[in-house]
């Protein structure tokens, strides 16, 4: 005899409370009926009715008995009363099926079958052994634990979900999956059955270091043998070369997951054109890197391959999309080009073109390039972005109020990107024009006499111009560090896309952590479709999760990183189950567990008893509703 939902003590307490309440209600209802009658003379005649001697007395014991019996039956139904002990009671099992990326590896002795096939076969075997009265919940486990079914009695639904399970792109998070299974089992409402893990048990090093398995009374492992030799790519990174604008530095990292040393070849293709091949000797369980240079300014697909192919081909290939390498075209009109040439030649992303002022063309700057007018004011101003350096006093781009020699009190506006990082106050400027800017102009630098450097953006936002009242490439200032920094800021402000630091890399899907170069701006983590991924900034790195193969852009300040999450997330260590876990397919005797559900019958019987009692003894019984016809003959 077993109460599945309640202990015997709980059941007895509950029934006692309900029964006492019912008896109290019964006594109150039946004993305090007060009626006003026309006369008492027919009652007080002897032999008509017995006066009450006790205040509380059960008048209709059968009615009370039926009420208590009805409630007892209903409570038994709620408690899911069953004959026999808890050993034979219905239980709820959770099957945790490993669907990590590693499950796509081929079996060593069966090349056409994968670890997933072996895990499916084990899971189906266990499912066949589960007693038919027990319920099963299937959880697919990779980096996330996802329930694939509800609590199912129908084995066909669970089997179909098992067969539909496929390897994912992430590594197994076993502790999270088991905690989820344990939580589901606690909330099921029935007796807990087994939690069964089917898979090889390969987990990441991070999880292995912080593993905290929940306490599971009945834990079974359906182990899958994965003694497989495998080497794979861990990551592929591409970074624009610091010395050559048309070159990408490629770094490929590979790891040997097997137990024997391996010699592998890493080959690189860009746009289906081989870029190189390097052999790597990989000791067991170790990683190595090889570097490549790819010369291209065009956008294209960079592919890395690892040879020879092995049992797990998913990590032998990686692809990433290299963006176009752009440069800024600068047209300089100056009669002293040598003063500007070193500064502009220092950055490979700048393509400078020098012309004497006499060859000025107003068409310059139309293609988005920057025009630098050095001590020169043309009759018609350029149509694009312009950097005015010490314009003449006659018809300047910004009204000049005075000309000062050796101005004092130089101040750089710290809140403007054009003067970011400029702190020097002792910069020696030989002479400068002091502007009388309009309210729309942005003040960048001031001396005691007034502003000496301003910037403006056109109303449509397409063109920008910067006006310096002084020449930073003349006099003592040309040797200051401020001068190249100021020019770099101007170039970056005019063409931010060109100067953005772009890193491209291939990583495995799952949890990704990217170090932040600068944390002074907002961070955006975008997918290819432009949707924002949730992220977390911790310890100067951005962390986000992507469970599938995708391309993700991380924009932080002036840097952009593009991640092609095409590599599967791999394991680091193999988890060893505790010694006390159950293993293999159990041999349950289903006939002992096939109990009949009594609660529907108990509930129906309880309801019938209560309804019958109400009809027979209720206040609105048909006996009381009957119209009594006068019996005149009898009265006569």
């Amino acid at each position: 005899m077993e109460f599945l939902n309640l202990t015997f003590g709980q059941f007895a307490a509950l029934f006692g409370a309900v029964g006492a309440f019912s008896v109290a209600l019964y006594l109150l209802d039946r004993n305090r009926r007060k009626e006003i009658v026309s006369t008492l003379r027919f009652w007080i005649e002897p032999g008509k009715a017995a006066p009450v001697t006790r205040r509380s007395r059960i008048q209709q014991p059968l009615s009370l008995f039926l009420q208590l019996l009805g409630m007892l039956l209903l409570l038994l139904a709620i408690a899911e009363f069953q004959f026999g002990g808890s050993r034979n009671a219905r239980r709820d099992h959770v099957l945790v099926l490993d669907t990590s990326a590693w499950m796509g590896a081929s079996l060593p002795n069966r090349p056409n079958a994968t670890l997933m096939d072996a895990a499916r076969a084990s899971a189906l075997g266990w499912l066949r052994a589960v007693p038919s009265a027990d319920r099963v919940l299937l959880v697919r486990a990779d980096a996330l634990a996802t329930p694939a079914t509800s609590w199912e009695l129908d084995r066909r639904n669970v089997a179909r979900a098992i067969l539909e399970s496929q390897p994912g792109a992430t590594a197994l998070n076993l502790s999270q999956s088991l905690q989820f299974a344990s939580q589901m089992q606690r909330g099921s409402g029935s007796l807990p059955g087994e939690i069964v893990y089917a898979g090889p048990g390969r987990i990441s090093a991070r999880e292995a270091n912080n593993m905290s398995l929940p306490r599971i009374p009945a834990f079974r492992v359906l182990a899958v043998d994965d003694n497989i030799e495998n080497a794979g790519l861990r990551s592929v990174g591409a970074r624009r070369s610091a010395t050559d604008n048309g070159t990408w530095d490629i770094l490929v990292r590979a790891r040997n997951y097997g137990r024997k040393p391996r010699l592998v070849n890493v080959t690189l293709n860009f746009g289906n054109i081989p870029q190189g091949s390097r052999p790597i000797e990989l000791p067991p369980g170790e990683e190595k890197e090889v570097a490549f240079n790819v010369h291209t300014r065009a956008a294209g697909i960079l592919e890395a391959r690892l040879y020879p192919r092995d049992a797990f081909p998913a990590d032998n290939y990686a692809a990433l999309e290299l963006p176009e390498l752009r440069s800024l075209h600068v047209v300089v009109y100056s009669d002293q080009p040598d003063a500007l040439r070193p500064a502009l030649a220092s950055d490979s992303r700048v393509f400078a073109e020098f012309h004497p002022t006499a060859q000025y063309s107003s068409e310059s700057g139309k293609d988005g390039s920057l025009v630098i007018l050095h001590h020169f004011r043309p009759e018609t101003r350029p149509q694009g972005n312009v950097l005015w350096i010490d314009p003449p006093l006659d018809k300047p781009p910004v009204a000049i109020q005075s000309r000062v020699e050796h101005p004092e009190g130089l101040r750089w506006m710290p809140d403007q990107p054009l003067t970011a990082g400029l702190r020097a106050r002792d910069v020696q400027i030989d002479s400068s024009s002091v502007f009388a800017p309009s309210p729309k102009d942005i003040r960048l630098a001031e001396v005691n006499s007034g502003p000496i450097m301003v910037a403006s953006v056109s109303d449509d936002g397409k063109t920008r111009s910067v006006v310096m009242g002084f020449d930073p490439f003349a006099g003592a200032m040309r040797y200051e560090l401020t001068t190249p920094l100021l020019l770099a800021n101007v170039l970056r402000w005019v063409a931010p896309d060109v100067f953005r630091d772009v890193d491209v890399g291939t990583q495995s899907a799952g949890a990704v952590a990217m170090p932040l170069v600068s944390n002074n701006g907002s961070v955006q983590v975008l997918t290819d479709s432009g949707t924002n991924l949730p992220y977390n900034v911790r310890d100067k790195s951005v962390e986000f999760f992507e469970g599938e193969s995708a391309r993700v852009r991380v924009i932080a300040g002036n840097s952009e990183r593009v991640y092609s999450l095409t590599l599967p997330e791999m394991w680091d260590v193999k988890w060893t189950p505790p010694a006390n876990v159950r293993r293999g397919i159990p041999a349950w005797n289903d006939s002992l567990r096939r109990n009949l559900d009594w609660w529907p019958f108990l509930a129906a019987l309880g309801a019938a008893v209560l309804i019958g009692e109400w009809i027979a003894y209720g206040r609105y019984s048909p006996v009381r509703l009957r119209v009594v016809k006068p019996n005149l003959e009898r009265a006569a």
């Binding site: 009658v37 026309s38 008492l40 009715a49 017995a50 009450v52 119209v627 006068p630």
Partner: protein, 293 residues
């Protein structure tokens, strides 16, 4: 505004009825029931010997010429008999949901209307422990409104005391006539003797006993706290099916006693449960009891 006791359609149906009594009463000409007493009627009744003081206009002079004896012709009269309706307004009439009191007032209104249509004079006399001020109505159906308003204004109160009421009635109304008593007759000191006095003084009784279903067949079982509507006394008893059965038998015996008083004195009796429609009560039960025709 309260709903009228009787609606127009029901009143129209009542117009074909007449209140009947069996006993002969002296009274003024103009009634509708024949009397065995001779009087100034139109229809010949009998002869008798002439006595001194008799009206010479009634002497049968033809018989005197033939027989040389003076015989007096007697004529049948149809006198106006006073109809007095004693209506119980004690608290017991309102016990339960008050259906008995409403039924009694509706029945009284119906009998008033029947009498007014036949040009009888009906005096409604409410009573409980004493005889209360009544209302006399006569002179045709157009006076029904007065009687109906009087009945509608009545309120149940007090303890029934038939003996006092009958004594006050006989002192107040010495002229004999038809006395209709509408009551539950539930007087703890008994009503049979008082009713007998009423009959012994020459009145014809028409006893209409009313009871609610609860009065005759108590619906309760188990422990019940009963409160008397008139005396305020209460009784906590335990009721079972046997007790209910005996209670009903006692009530029927009590009703039989009331009926016996009426029939023993050549009166009429009608027992009416309030669950019966008033139309059935008048056109069926009371007609069969020959109270009205």
């Amino acid at each position: 505004m309260n709903e009228p006791l009787l609606d127009r359609e029901f009143l129209e149906r009542l117009e074909r009825l007449t209140i009947h009594w069996q006993r002969s009463f002296n009274g003024l000409v103009g009634g509708h029931n024949r009397s065995r007493f001779a009087g100034g009627g139109q229809e010949f009744l009998d002869h008798r010997h002439f006595h001194d003081g008799d009206d010479l206009r009634a002497v049968n002079w033809r018989a005197y010429m033939r027989l040389d004896k003076m015989f007096l012709k007697m004529f049948q009269i149809e006198p106006r008999v006073p109809v007095r309706l004693l209506l119980d307004t004690s608290a017991s009439m309102a016990a339960g949901s008050g259906e008995k009191f409403l039924f009694a007032r509706r029945l009284a209104a119906a009998l008033c209307y029947v009498g007014l249509v036949r040009l009888d004079t009906i005096q409604v006399l409410p009573f409980a422990s004493h005889l209360r001020e009544g209302k006399s109505s006569g002179g045709g159906r157009h006076r029904y409104r007065i009687a109906a308003e009087f009945l509608e204004a009545l309120q149940p109160a007090g303890v029934t005391d038939f003996f006092t009421v009958v004594r006050e009635f006989l002192n107040e109304y010495p002229q004999r006539g038809l006395v209709i008593v509408i009551s539950d007759f539930l007087d703890d000191s008994g009503c049979e003797k008082a009713l007998q006095y009423l009959a012994d003084y020459g009145n014809e009784l028409m006893l209409v006993q009313l009871w609610s279903d609860q009065d005759r067949t108590p619906p309760w079982t188990g422990e019940v706290d009963l409160h008397d509507a008139e005396s305020g006394g209460h009784l906590r008893i335990q009721v079972d099916e046997d007790a209910r059965r005996q209670y009903t038998a006692s009530f029927d015996a009590f009703s039989a006693g009331i009926k016996e008083v009426a029939l023993r004195n050549d009166g009429k009796y009608a027992g009416l449960p309030t669950s019966m429609p008033l139309e059935d009560a008048i056109f069926d039960t009371m007609v069969r009891a020959r109270s009205i025709a």
